[in-house]
């Protein structure tokens, strides 16, 4: 099997608190994995370990067989990991087009000038923001900012795309658009890890699910099977006698 991303025994401690505890899993090319779990279970921390925002206390993470854990975020980005943020982060002083170009210049892809503009134009169209390239981004609606952030992440032509609650906060009709957008990406063969609370999205999109609770991986497998697992139900709803 050819694993795109391997997480082996990843651990992150904050002082005495163990936020991520010995988590291991592998992802194959073209898989879309849902990373789920109750609030505070360590999902975003794990994503931060993969993207290099945080350094793991111990454990290894490798991309296409090469060790990336412990490297600074910009080096990891250059090797092909792109991400979006839980609290959407657009660059307010730049136009929409420049926001997308930002993802294509310094990272996994190195384009500049006309080539970058063309790439940005095509990605804006893909996420549904065609003709919005010159818009100032500070005044965009929430879903448009999320679309823009996705376009910026895609501009790096990532080997693995990390989506941190990308669907959170969208209304039902926006959610439909968002889900179909991610489905398109998967159908193109992109490898994706999505941290998500929207269960409908997980059910309809993911091949596989990794469930975390209190920093530990408690389940890993096919979505419906995992969601029926008594331990997963307990993690979400608490013990029957609690």
């Amino acid at each position: 099997m050819n694993h795109v991303l391997s997480v082996a025994g990843a651990t992150k401690k904050f002082g005495g608190l163990v936020a991520v505890n010995e988590v291991s899993f592998d992802i194959n090319e073209g898989e879309l994995i849902g990373l789920i779990g109750p609030n505070g279970s360590g999902k975003t921390t794990l994503l931060n370990l993969i993207s290099g925002a945080l350094k793991p206390t111990s454990g290894n993470i490798s991309l296409n067989g090469a060790l990336i854990s412990g490297q600074p975020a910009h080096k990891i980005a250059r090797q092909g990991i792109s991400r979006t943020f839980q609290l959407v982060k657009v660059l307010p002083g730049l136009t929409a087009r420049e926001n997308v170009i930002a993802g294509a210049v310094f990272g996994h892809t190195h384009v500049w000038g006309d080539e970058a503009e063309e790439l940005a134009e095509s990605l804006l169209e893909k996420v549904g923001l065609s003709d919005r390239g010159d818009s100032p981004t500070g005044a965009m609606t929430y879903i448009d900012q999320k679309r823009l952030e996705l376009a910026r992440a895609l501009a790096g032509n990532p080997s693995v795309l990390l989506l941190d609650e990308w669907l959170a906060g969208l209304n039902p009709s926006e959610l439909k658009i968002g889900i179909s957008l991610i489905r398109d990406l998967r159908n193109e063969g992109l490898t994706i890890i999505m941290v998500e609370h929207v269960m409908d999205a997980i059910r309809s999109l993911c091949d596989r699910c990794v469930v975390m609770s209190s920093g530990v991986k408690i389940a890993d497998g096919e979505v419906n099977q995992v969601l029926a697992d008594p331990e997963v139900v307990r993690a979400y709803l608490g013990d029957a006698d609690a």
């Binding site: 290099g52 925002a53 910009h74 980005a77 250059r78 730049l94 170009i101 210049v105 990272g107 910026r152």
Partner: protein, 321 residues
């Protein structure tokens, strides 16, 4: 990279005409007018070089006096052995080296650490230079005897000004400039799109420091006798911050708008009310924070936007009617 736009050509030609015009000042004015012109030219280069780094990063550098003083000392020490133009380059290199050391130590950290460090940097270098001169050389000062007069200094400064504007413009169109804009907007995003933020900041600080060092070198002949307290004058650092921010750092020529009035004001103040200068500097800082947070050019841009919006509203109202 695309070619300069028509508007940029217009600005370049306009700038060149102004530069030539200023270069002719020595033939018409002398004494006070000439020395004021030299001051303005000096602060123009200093502020533009300062804004090159501090504008996009929002790190407030007070290292100007240290870089300037190093440049002055490089000339004082090397005048016997090397030709002046080489010394100017050496001065730039020395200031750049200092900038690299300071940058590597402090630019990974938050802005406050950087301000504090640069605040004392001139004092630190001054103490080390004074200590070294009193213990290892015969006198505390250095003589700088050259054939340069005010007009020569002015012409050299104008040449450097052209260079600093061109460099600023080239950086703003380069990948480095784009990276700085992203860093200024959101450093976390910058890291995650693959920018080595620490390296980019240090690089820009080094370029900016080199220019400031060269200004110090060019100004050295004006001192005739270089002493640590005059070469490492902390007030230069503060004045540069004020002038650059008063003008605004969102345009390459923005600092210039602050330089001209404030240089004249400070010149008058030191001549007639020397004891009141700290108060004026203090009030200028307060004015920047409370009245002109984006500088004069920022204010003009805001007004422009407001007018556009007003026109748009008026047009829409017209359509509706």
């Amino acid at each position: 990279m695309s070619l300069p736009t028509t508007r940029e050509w217009q600005i370049a030609v306009g700038g060149l005409i102004v530069l030539i015009g200023v270069a002719l000042v020595p033939f018409f004015g002398s004494g006070y007018v000439l020395s004021l012109t030299v001051n303005i030219a000096m602060y123009t280069v200093l502020c533009t070089a300062w804004a090159m780094f501090s504008g996009p990063t929002h790190y407030i550098s007070l290292a100007t006096a240290a870089f300037f003083g190093i440049g002055t000392y490089a000339v004082g020490l090397g005048l016997e052995t090397l030709p002046f133009p080489v010394l100017v380059l050496v001065a730039g290199a020395c200031a750049a080296a200092l900038a690299a050391v300071v940058g590597i130590a402090t630019l990974r950290l938050s802005g406050v650490y950087f301000v504090i460090f640069t605040l004392g940097l001139a004092e630190l270098v001054k103490q080390v230079v004074t200590w070294w001169q009193t213990n290892f050389t015969t006198s505390v000062g250095l003589y700088v005897f050259t054939d340069f007069r005010e007009q020569h200094i002015l012409w050299m400064l104008l040449g450097l000004a052209a260079l600093v504007f061109i460099t600023s413009w080239a950086i703003s169109r380069s990948k480095l400039g784009f990276a700085m804009r992203i860093i200024g907007n959101d450093e976390t995003v910058a890291k995650h799109v693959g920018i080595d933020t620490a390296r980019a900041k240090v690089l820009l600080f080094v370029i900016s420091g080199a220019f400031i060092g060269m200004v110090g070198a060019i100004l050295a002949p004006r001192f005739a006798y270089v002493e640590p307290p005059s070469a490492f004058n902390t007030m230069i650092s503060f004045q540069v911050v004020i002038m650059a921010l008063l003008g605004g750092t969102n345009r390459i020529w923005g600092p210039l708008v602050g330089v001209i009035p404030f240089t004249i004001l400070m010149d008058q103040m030191t001549a007639y009310f020397p004891n009141h200068t700290p108060i004026v500097i203090g009030l200028a800082f307060l004015a920047i924070v409370y009245v002109l947070p984006h500088g004069v050019t920022g204010l003009m841009a805001d007004l422009g936007k407001l007018r556009k919006r007003f026109k748009l509203v008026a047009a829409n109202a017209g359509e509706g009617a």
